[in-house]
Point group: D4
Chain length 165, copies 8
């Protein structure tokens, strides 16, 4: 029988300076009872380590890879080229970024054959939820937690309305 | 035992004028032996039908929903708000679009809590492949076909190089 | 005989964090003697409540709906799809917005058949004035107050010039 | 008793070269039984005529003004500064436009005090529908026609789905 | 014989909040011995006063008009439509501006027949220098001061280089 | 006594491929009875010739220089750095331009001290009119012709309106 | 003694569909007597082949690598991460590109430590010339040819001017 | 025998206010044992000095010129037009810049015949490394230091991963 504990998500980023943004992906996964592992893997500084990471990801039981990067953000797309696992890309608005457009377009506009599932700028939390949805499509326990989460979102809006009065 | 035939992907679009772009998603899924169903569901012209579609999607066995839309493209995000399934958004460059920026940003920049897995402008083929990767993370048969596909991509580059000489 | 008191404007926003911006719409309406009601209605967190709000708006006597949202801002367009009332959209520059372009384009670029009357980024005050102009086209009392307001704008410029000297 | 025939909408544009785009506003109004008059009024070539047009608009019975312009598009905002009527602005993508951004921003980003209800690039049809919605908020006959129109939009999507099969 | 004192430049802006930026134009003119007068003239709040200002400018001896405005910046272009004098437009980056693009495009992209001499975002100092260059093309005294100014620019670079060592 | 014949405007462009755009500046000047001379002067291919042109311009009687260039358009700004004459810059949308943004920003965003009077993308006609306005500020004959021209613009709008009926 | 024949430049591109653009780099190098070799190397379809190409480039005598790619263009940056040779990146405006912004930003905005020498959109000819300049900095023969080439550029402008007359 | 000491790189910038950014290029070169000289050379304030600098650069033994500038950034391209040496351009995000787009496009989009090797916004460190790579292509000592540097980059990522645990 399938359980959330059987699934694991890899979270990688180009630099430890991205950790503040990217740990929100791990937090979201934890909230849905899904294990994750986090690592710094740089497309530009450790290209061979990136190749190794991507090629071994499926074999070590990862279901989804979440990759965050800023500027000319090549990590998500390169990892996607090296694995058949779904890769979620998180554009990060780094210093010297041109308003985030660079990382958004570097991740989103992948050529035919090698998709990256791109989320909003700095949207690591949503990357975690999307990974949970992917797992939830095959795991009823996770799907049920996602339904509960959606109810909580509604509940918060209800509380906001009470706060307005 | 799990087989590709057990999985089904829903493909929806705001207008039949988007069919030329979106059928590439269906073609890609067929290539990986995954069934899909295609429908016109408009966020702005048939909002109630959209709610019904999204809320019944998981129950009727869909694993992933692919939604394409142009301009102020609300279909992917609204469907994502109404289901726990992963939703892949395809920005479409329609006439009167402002260079495609409108559909890209309307789909990508979803708020925390409701992710959409966005692919490139007019990237319906990649949406199909991404759906296959999601299924392949839980179905070895599909994963194997994705590996074969990656080999074919390499082979094409090899042939291009032979053609250069 | 028609009076301003007979008219009411609905003001909605995706989150109570938008209240600081959106209450300027209510303030403007109050200035013209027009009643308004304010609520948090989220397209993505409370989609069914949004459908209910939009479908009941005309019946409960609203003349105009003002909807503010940031990022991939679907609230104004979705409400417009569900009512025949005029809907005024206020793009809000939220954190992680890509300079406000995302909310502007998500609200402005609506497809044929479902218009949203879009105002400037964070332009909630103008949304309130526009709602007053819509009511003023059918209510002489409100139109007269708008004429007074235009005189006050002139007066302020006159005072600015006196301040320069 | 109020009837649609009592209302009239003014449609203006900066040049007769904009007529192909702007007549769609007139067509939409005709569809809802609302009378319109169309004229060339240029902010930059006939500024005094523009002042006269705007100042006399309410007095001659117009309920709404629809103004279309391209490039540095000043007509909608200037007319809005000279009348208390609601003004709908239609950005037009003219030749030598910078992808339409110039007209969109020139119309949308009005300062506090002088709103323009902006619709999508080349969105004259939606401008006509928005004017009908404004009138429909005070005229049940027009509101009823708008409801019928919304049903027709749904019907077209239904036919599109039948065409897919 | 022509002297700099015979020439006068009008400096106008849409609001006294633009004064900090625009007074740099006056300072530059003073530096070249050219008289200027400064006033708040709003295209949107005082449209008739703007018409009067523009139509009387040449008659009261102005040689050049410098007009600064932010957002949907209509002042420079409208004034240009109402006078045969050269009009210099200064785009101002106001709060709620979309990064200054709105004012830049609203001023720059004027239609054929009605030019505005646009300078850089917040470039009021350069507007003053440009007005001096226009006058200097017909007044040798001003031209000579401009030559001195260009030498001073060179001198400052020389001093910077000495500071590097 | 001053007459239009006494004034001359220099028109330069980076390549003869820009001639189709730039000759409209010469045509406009001819219309106002102002002489012009046209030459290819390339900032990047003939930098020394550009320096010579700019430094000798005032001496040979030019009142204004109009410079058109595309892409990374350095000609207008460099000429402006080398003369005290007013320089009008015409951004040209060349092939491989990024939608014209490159030439617009390369010409407009000049640093303090060295202004360029920038007109709209491909706006060579307006460059010619602006040069005429500059001359007209000091030459009543040219000013009178500009007034006539403005009347003709009005007349054309009147004819457009007759054509609508 | 050093001669141009001793140097070789590698030219790579993501697909043979980029050949029409990229062969201009080879043509430019041939013009300066520099040998080049051209190959299809795809970051996303043949990532391992790309790693091999980049790591062996210096060893087989290449002095410079020119890499062209469109969309989310990762080839230049990834090759730069794997070699100490200078890498010149050519952004290519492919179909479905968002006006070329995606490839420009994906190549230009590299993080600290891994530069790419980026040239203009579709600027393969300039990439070839830049490679020649790099070699010419260490090879007088090539430098001399570059000086001749600069003279030819001047000569062409001279001929353009003769053609104007 | 060639040694790093034989090579020298010129670093120039438009103003001493750019020194904080540009000295990172000098620091990077020092790290690789390459000498550099730094100067303020302004395209717009000292155009003749710029011509002299560029024309004498090769003769005084410079191998590469690094030029940084903001806004309408003409320095890199103009220097490139006056020398056969490779020129590296550093776009600088100055105050009143339009988000850096102006300097990026002014430097990158050079016409055919006159390339500039453009690096990322404020990317002076990478400009220094790129200059080292250019020299390293002809100097084994520098190439060896670049290899060591690449190992250090990997080492830092390894340390980041240890820091995560």
């Amino acid at each position: 029988m399938s359980t959330a504990q059987q699934h694991k998500v890899g979270i990688i980023m180009g630099s430890s300076s991205d950790l503040d943004v990217m740990k929100k992906a791990a937090d979201a996964l934890t909230q849905f009872g899904i294990e994750s592992e986090i690592a710094v893997v740089s497309a530009h500084r450790t290209p061979e380590a990136m190749v190794d990471y991507a090629k071994s990801a499926a074999g070590k039981g990862l279901r989804v890879i979440i990759a965050g990067a800023g500027g000319a953000a090549h990590l998500p797309g390169m990892v996607a080229s090296l694995t058949t696992l779904p890769v979620i890309g998180v554009p990060i608005k780094s210093s010297n970024s041109i308003d985030g457009w660079d990382s958004v377009l570097s991740i989103l506009q992948m050529p035919n054959g090698v998709p990256v599932a791109t989320v909003a700028l700095n949207g690591a939390k949503n990357a975690g939820i999307l990974a949970a949805e992917i797992i939830g499509a095959f795991d009823e326990e996770v799907a049920a937690r996602l339904s509960v989460y959606k109810e909580e979102l509604k509940q918060k809006v209800k509380e906001m309305n009470e706060g307005l009065e």
